[in-house]
Symmetry: C2
Subunit: 283 residues, 2 copies
């Protein structure tokens, strides 16, 4: 029933050009249809886009940054700057801040999310980006490490092949673009369900989102999330959680957590991440 509702809503909507937040699970198509990158490009203004590429998560920022630069050049962006920030003081540069004031889209590449946060967290540059995103003035996308940093809390690392336990996940502070979520990426490809469950058991006030490779959770300013791409987006909603032993157990003990609501969504599925419902109507 809500599927029909959802389909009707989609049919009513032309392809939006509104600013949005694109959280990409890594390894997005860069060669063929480039659906996800095309969507970022369109949301950031299309041929009027002034883009900032932030490759700072990577240890090869020039290589990875240039690759995205060429892709968006091919698409016809009006202006593209590679913000190759390698020191925190660069994130105070007046010239960069002025560009961020007029730019229409920011793209954060993959690499190491700890590196990215270490360079950008609590800098004037990041403050400017976050402020403009929260005012829905610009579109932002992050892939892989660039996706991991989206929440207030961030999964910095972890493992797989174990039951949920506290040692399975390292949680630090993210960049707070979408504070209410905890994101994991390369989700089923790297078998990260247990670590995401471990993470959400520690922060059950958040919403856990696992995103597959070549897959994107597109967050609209109206509270809806829509799935794009080849794989799935898994939502773990602990709102109705009735119990967890998490605070009381040792580092390697099994985590018990009751009454999680889980949705596995794929291309075209929509979820209201503010109302935490597949039923919610557009606000």
């Amino acid at each position: 029933m809500q599927q029909l509702e959802s389909q009707l809503q989609r049919m009513r909507m032309p392809k939006s050009t509104q600013p949005a937040i694109l959280v990409i699970g890594g390894a997005e198509d860069k060669v063929h249809g480039r659906e996800i990158l095309q969507t970022f490009f369109r949301r950031a203004g299309g041929t009027n886009a002034r883009l900032a590429i932030i490759p700072s998560a990577s240890r090869e920022p020039t290589v990875i940054g240039s690759r995205y630069q060429r892709i968006f050049e091919d698409m016809g962006a009006e202006e593209i700057r590679l913000l190759d920030i390698r020191d925190r003081y660069q994130a105070e540069n007046q010239d960069l801040l002025e560009y961020l004031e007029i730019c229409t889209g920011v793209f954060m590449t993959g690499g190491d999310q700890l590196r990215l946060c270490g360079l950008l967290a609590d800098t004037p540059l990041m403050e400017k980006v976050r402020q403009r995103v929260h005012q829905s003035e610009i579109t932002i996308a992050g892939t892989s490490a660039g996706a991991a940093v989206m929440g207030h809390h961030m999964i910095a690392g972890g493992g797989s092949g174990e039951f949920p336990n506290r040692s399975l996940v390292d949680i630090t502070m993210g960049l707070g673009i979408i504070p209410e979520v905890i994101v994991d990426q390369h989700f089923y490809h790297r078998n990260r369900m247990a670590r995401l469950i471990s993470a959400i058991s520690e922060h059950p006030e958040r919403l856990a989102i696992g995103i597959d490779e070549d897959t994107c959770a597109l967050f609209e300013k109206n509270g809806w999330l829509e799935v794009m791409g080849k794989g799935t987006v898994t939502i773990i909603d602990p709102k109705e959680m009735s119990y967890t032993n998490q605070p009381k157990i040792g580092h390697n003990d099994p985590i018990s957590i009751h009454n999680l609501r889980v949705h596995v969504l794929c291309h075209g599925d929509r979820y209201h991440f503010q109302k935490r419902s597949l039923f919610a109507v557009e606000s």
Copy 2:
């Protein structure tokens, strides 16, 4: 609140000697505390136990069967028979059927669940076992492959490292000891969440249960399940499922499935698998 309830109920109960069904996730402790095997032994009658060990899942049935035989001999079982069935006609043997009529516990080892079902499904021996289990006259345990066969539907094989999709899981018929469940074992150790979600999307009338190594879901005849051992038991309850694309998609397409209720349970946690609730009181 229901945790307190649950703990109180446990405290009220002496260590039960009632017949039960033990579904073990594989690699259970055979050397130290042997908590799970001890529980099987106690539930099967303790020093009065007359046990039947079925090693037919294994290609080395004598080796694996003898190992369990020694363990239960050490514990002091009154009688132990190794039912080394290698051909279906053996499962009609009158002598074996007579033993099953007087035995108090059946233990199915690990190996290959397809081999086990191929040898035992729809045989007079299995019919006898199932009938006595359903009348709560005997205790039965299965580990690994022996756990996989418990449901009406059985996961015969599958993969990991992919989003949920139909090709990720092979489903065949199990032995129907607990018809309403689909069991997966070695659960987080082998990263089987995606395949269990794939399985339950195909049979949403069932209850999916993923059991870790050295961990046991102990099913009581009163409808309760209790978790024992080192790891977790993950329940995926699709009762409130509002949508799945499963019947309509291609073999490798991502599965969409909305509104699963998931519980991760560990040692001592209890779940009413008939009422599908952590709140239910004993009936």
